[in-house]
Amino acid sequence: MSTQSYAHEVRQYTIGFIGAAVLTILAYLSVKLEWYDATTTAIFVLVLAVMQFGVQVYYFLHLRGEAKPRWQSWSFVYSMAMMLIVVCGSLWVMYNLNYRMGMSGEQMEQRMLEENKKGF
């Protein structure tokens, strides 16, 4: 990998940095200036976050050009899969729980506050 020239490598990092900075600023502005409604903005900033994640992994983490059997890349893929299962799975279970009790998250919060006031 060190066959690449110094200038080329610096350019790669600079592209990554500028990409990450632009994506951060876009996400910030979309929230601050309220470009879209709440749901669209939420999806928009999450997509930007995933894009920035991709940019930083590609330009900063040197996963490209790894020699076989590519332990790093595959352990990374595995961790990402596990992370998605933990995060999405937890959210699914908890929202489903609220739903089955006939409430949204906010209603659940209200109900728990009321119960709290009654004392234990």
Binding site: T24, V31, A49, W71, S75, S79, S90, M108, E109
Partner: protein, 195 residues
């Protein structure tokens, strides 16, 4: 390639893989803290929500300090790989300074919240917030100490193959922390400001 050079190369590859696997387990810690935070973010116990508490301009400043420090860290790694000791130390120093700046802003924010009575005992939302952001901050603190030790090592020993290997691990760690911060910035602060 002499057997000595081959040995150093193998040592570097093993160290990188070992450290990489540690980072993968760290992803799982942050994944569970993120899941906890997202589930508990509405549980404000009648207290303030993220929308009322967070200052986006302030968080933007934190984000850019960390992003620029990640960039200078990458440049420092390239410099040490090409044997430029002085440039490495200057860039590493910049990285450390920016990291300390980031941590100071974060501690200032925590202090403000604490003094205003919004500490981690107040609600499930604040507990989850302090745990998630605090865990990241703790990693940053460890990273800063590591970077200072690394700077000392390089200034004494120069840009030896061992120094390059040590630096590559630190660079991985530091880039990883910026990756985690993207999601803290988005999920905790930006999504918190929307709802």
């Amino acid at each position: 390639m002499t057997s000595h050079a081959a040995h150093i190369k193998e040592k570097a590859a093993n160290a990188t893989l070992g450290f990489w696997l540690y980072l993968m387990t760290d992803i799982m810690i942050f994944a569970s803290l993120f899941a906890t935070f997202v589930i508990l973010r509405d549980g404000t116990n009648g207290g303030p929500s993220g929308q009322e508490l967070f200052n986006l301009e302030f968080v933007m400043a934190e984000t850019f300090l960390l992003l620029v420090s990640s960039f200078t860290c990458g440049l420092a790694y390239l410099a040490i790989k090409h044997g430029q000791k002085r440039r490495t130390l200057v860039l590493l120093g910049t990285t450390i300074t920016l990291g300390i700046g980031f941590l100071s802003l974060e501690l200032y924010e925590f202090g403000e919240l604490y003094l205003a009575g919004h500490d981690w005992t107040h609600s499930a939302f604040l507990s989850a917030f302090f745990t998630l952001v605090g865990t990241h901050g703790l990693h940053i603190l460890i990273g800063i100490i590591w970077a200072i030790a690394l700077g000392d090592y390089i200034s004494k020993r120069g840009t030896t193959p061992d120094a390059v290997r040590k630096f590559s691990l630190f660079a991985l760690f530091w880039h990883f922390l910026d990756l985690v911060w993207i999601f803290i910035f988005t999920v905790v602060y930006l999504l918190g400001a929307i709802s």
